[in-house]
């Protein structure tokens, strides 16, 4: 394996991590707002709050890791993506800022406002939508490299069916991933009413995610034939991904082993996401930038990998502790230590 491939694999792992934890967080926000609007707040509020409270900051860090890491390993991405993403990325930052800060103001500061809850729920859908645009741009066809630098063709981007399909997948995935996880979480908490409701949401959103994913593959054939052809080389990964999807839905349908249902879902997304990434290889931005010409020097790459391993040795035990104390702690999940907050 070359350093370039190690670098992009590490970054892809972080992006995948963000997609999973971010989706749970964003979807939870949306369900929270929706349940308030539909007068079902009493069913979902506690279960969602209990999960989100101790982990909200951690979610954001996955994203920061990804973009700091990609500039580290592939400094040319700063030039290409930095130049073209000013507007879309700024919008994402603003949405993330509103969401993150108001979550903290609300949870720790006790601000009670209805409009806040609406904003919180809607940003949960807009953030993934705005971030997913980056994946569309990476497919090429929307970027022009001229004498004055790199520019993005917004008209083309917004008129492209591919970009809307990717937005659709990102939004439906957020709702699906989140609902499956929260079903499991509610099951752990023995909160049967919440579990039943969330299970319904999960089943409701399972179909649309699969349909929008198929839509993307179909459109890729016309938008980026090279990528589409490469996708067939890793078709086996897509098949495994689909099988995992079937397992999740079946387990949810039969109402058993919700933990395994979630694990299958993680594998479903992992296989699909890596199949997408591998077939995207070697391009970071079609057709201008590959991982080879955008790569940093060897010394820096090795230093980053060493730092990464050292960092993981520090973080994995810490994350384990966090998970043990909160997310997977039966007593906490059931609501004991509710008053633990200083």
């Amino acid at each position: 394996m070359t350093l370039e491939v190690i670098g992009i694999s590490v970054l892809w792992l972080f992006l995948f991590g963000y997609i999973i934890v971010g989706s749970i967080d964003f979807g939870a926000g949306f369900f929270s707002a929706y349940s308030h609007w539909a007068n079902k707040q009493h069913i979902l509020h506690h279960i969602i709050q209990r999960y989100l409270s101790p982990v909200w900051e951690v979610t954001n860090v996955f994203l920061v890791f990804f973009f700091v890491g990609i500039v580290g390993f592939f400094p040319k991405t700063a030039y290409y993506y930095g130049s073209i993403l000013l507007v879309p990325a700024s919008i994402s930052i603003i949405l993330l800022a509103i969401r993150g800060s108001y979550y903290a103001f609300h949870t720790y500061g006790g601000t009670e406002r209805n409009w806040y809850l609406i904003a919180y729920g809607l940003t949960g859908l807009f953030i993934p939508a705005s971030l997913s645009i980056v994946l569309t741009i990476s497919e090429g066809g929307f970027v022009e490299v001229g004498a004055s630098g790199v520019t993005l063709d917004y008209g083309k981007l917004f008129a492209s069916p591919l970009s809307w399909s990717i937005v659709l997948l990102s939004v439906t995935s957020v709702l699906y991933i989140s609902a499956v996880f929260l079903t499991y979480y509610a099951d752990e908490a023995k909160d049967e009413r919440a579990r039943a409701l969330l299970r319904r949401y999960a089943l409701l959103w399972s179909g649309p995610t699969m349909l929008s994913a198929l839509l993307i593959i179909y459109q890729l054939r016309y938008h980026n034939p090279e990528h589409y052809a490469n996708l067939w080389n890793v078709a086996w990964m897509l098949v495994i991904s689909f099988l995992c999807f079937v397992i999740t839905v079946w387990l949810l349908w039969r109402q058993r082993r919700f933990g395994w249902a979630f694990i299958a879902l993680v594998f479903q997304y992992a296989f699909a996401f890596y199949a997408y990434g591998i077939s995207h290889y070697p391009y970071l931005l079609y057709p201008y930038l590959t991982i080879y010409d955008g790569f940093t020097n060897e010394t820096m790459a090795k230093a980053l990998i060493v730092a990464f391993i050292a960092g993981l040795l520090l973080l994995i035990p810490s994350l384990y502790l966090l998970m043990r104390l909160f997310v997977f702690n039966k007593a906490y999940v059931k609501g004991k230590w509710e008053g633990g907050k200083g």
Binding site: V58, V64, V71, I93, G109, S318
Partner: protein
């Protein structure tokens, strides 16, 4: 677009983001240490007042961390969005500490989450305090790593520049560049100092209003002592920073000091103004002081600004930032010393209302000094973004939308600053310390 200047607009937007971020970042670096000190004193003295201090500070701290996180995410992305050419070049040499900063912050965030939700879960305050140590270490390590990047912009090293390409890259040498030791030390010491003054301000505010509760007295006393120690440290490190500048960035020191001609026995110029023909008026000149600041010797030769090509001189108005920073720094050190001596010798005047008023101003003043210091550091590096290698104008984006983004971010930061202030004020008004003490006394936790 007439008059549209993406370089200037990028500078303004970056400056704006940093101005907002540094308020929350300074608190974010310093306050965990203050919480740890309070909790530790509380455990040692078995005094629940201090434990309650730690609890209440933590509650406020979380709000500021949230804004710090989001503004930090903003600046992290804006580095690439507004300065794509710079990041493409510098990223090859200096991305290691940027990457490590993320790890440090991640570490801090995890333990802060745990600390926050486990006040009563262990039954033993000492165990709980242990959880705060990674938070404090992570916060200070973040500051250290990010300051390393800034130091690198001032004194880049760890690479060779050949035919427009960077070769022989040494990321460790880039991290440990000449500006790094004084800069990191100054940033950390002033963050602790400012956080202590901010927390002391809050206690002083209650005392100034006439609330003489022992809780506030304890808080003020603890924080003023801490503030004094870090003020002295900041002044000493500030002196070392002067010597660093004289050696490695003489143009910054010369511009800040309006020292135009190279000369020995150079005086330190404080305050004053510059006339149109470049004459210094109404200034206080301390004889030999600049020579001493620069080289520890009254007769030492200090390089003047005229030695540098005109297009490589920093703007002269940075002198005012220098004045503000130094004046406030020295003033606060004197105030902290007076408080401390007053408490030892039981002076009456340090317990008077006007003196509490002075202490109330201490926190905001310290924050102003932090801002002035960063303005001095950043504008004093101009016209360079990477000193000696890349000018700021070459590093910026050429995007056509920086103006719109500037407006959007202005609105965002206004909302964040105002909302966080309102949330903090309301949070503590709703739950005054007297009430919380009474409640905890009812639960048998504290003596009333």
């Amino acid at each position: 677009m007439n008059g549209y200047d993406p370089v200037l607009l990028s500078r303004i937007l970056t400056g704006l983001t940093l101005t907002v971020h540094i308020i929350y970042a300074t608190i974010g670096v310093g306050v965990p240490l203050m919480i740890a000190i309070a909790q530790w004193v509380g455990i040692r003295k078995n005094d629940m007042h201090y434990i309650l201090l730690a609890r209440r500070w933590t509650r406020g701290f979380v709000i500021t961390v949230a804004v710090g996180v989001v503004t930090g995410t903003a600046i992290g992305l804006q580095l690439s969005l507004l300065w794509p050419n710079f990041m493409q070049l510098a990223g090859q040499v200096i991305s290691l500490p940027l990457f490590m900063e993320t790890f440090a912050f991640f570490f801090e965030a995890i333990f802060l989450g745990i600390y926050l939700y486990t006040w009563d879960r262990f039954g033993n305050q000492k165990k709980h305090l242990l959880l705060l140590i990674p938070v404090a270490i992570g916060a200070s390590a973040s500051a250290m790593f990010i300051t390393m990047v800034n130091a690198f912009m001032n004194t880049p090293q760890g690479f060779e520049f050949k035919n427009g390409e960077l070769v022989n890259i040494d990321p460790i040498a880039a991290m440990f560049n000449p500006a790094m030791p004084t800069k990191v030390a100054h940033v950390l010491a002033t963050a602790y100092m400012t956080s202590a003054f901010v927390l002391a301000s809050i206690a002083a505010w209650h005392l100034w209003k006439g609330n003489r509760h022992i809780y506030h007295r304890k808080a003020l006393h603890l924080m003023m002592k801490t503030a004094f120690i870090f003020s002295v440290a900041s002044v000493l490190i500030g002196d070392l920073s002067g010597k660093f500048l004289a050696e490695y960035q003489p143009e910054k020191l010369a511009a800040a000091e309006w020292h135009f001609e190279t000369s020995s026995h150079a005086p330190l110029v404080l305050f004053g103004m510059l006339t149109e023909d470049g004459e210094v008026k109404y200034a206080i000149k301390i004889p030999y002081a600049l020579s001493i600041l620069a080289h520890n010797h009254p007769g030492a030769v200090v390089t003047g600004l005229n030695e540098f090509p005109e297009d490589e001189r920093p703007p002269l108005y940075i002198h005012y930032f220098f004045d503000v920073m130094v004046t406030i720094g020295v003033f606060l050190t004197v105030v902290a010393a007076a408080y401390w001596l007053g408490s030892i010798f039981r002076w009456k005047w340090t317990a008077k209302k006007w003196f509490f008023g002075l202490l109330v101003a201490g926190g905001p003043l310290a924050m102003v000094a932090i801002q002035a210091g960063w303005y001095l550091a950043e504008i004093g590096r101009q016209p360079w973004i990477l000193r000696g290698y890349m000018k700021t104008a070459e590093g910026a984006t050429s995007s056509a939308h920086v103006d719109t983004m500037l407006v959007l971010f202005c609105l965002l930061y206004m909302v964040l600053v105002i909302a966080s202030a309102i949330v903090l004020i309301r949070m503590f008004r709703r739950n005054p310390v007297e009430r919380e003490l009474a409640e905890r006394a009812n639960n048998g936790e504290v003596a009333p």
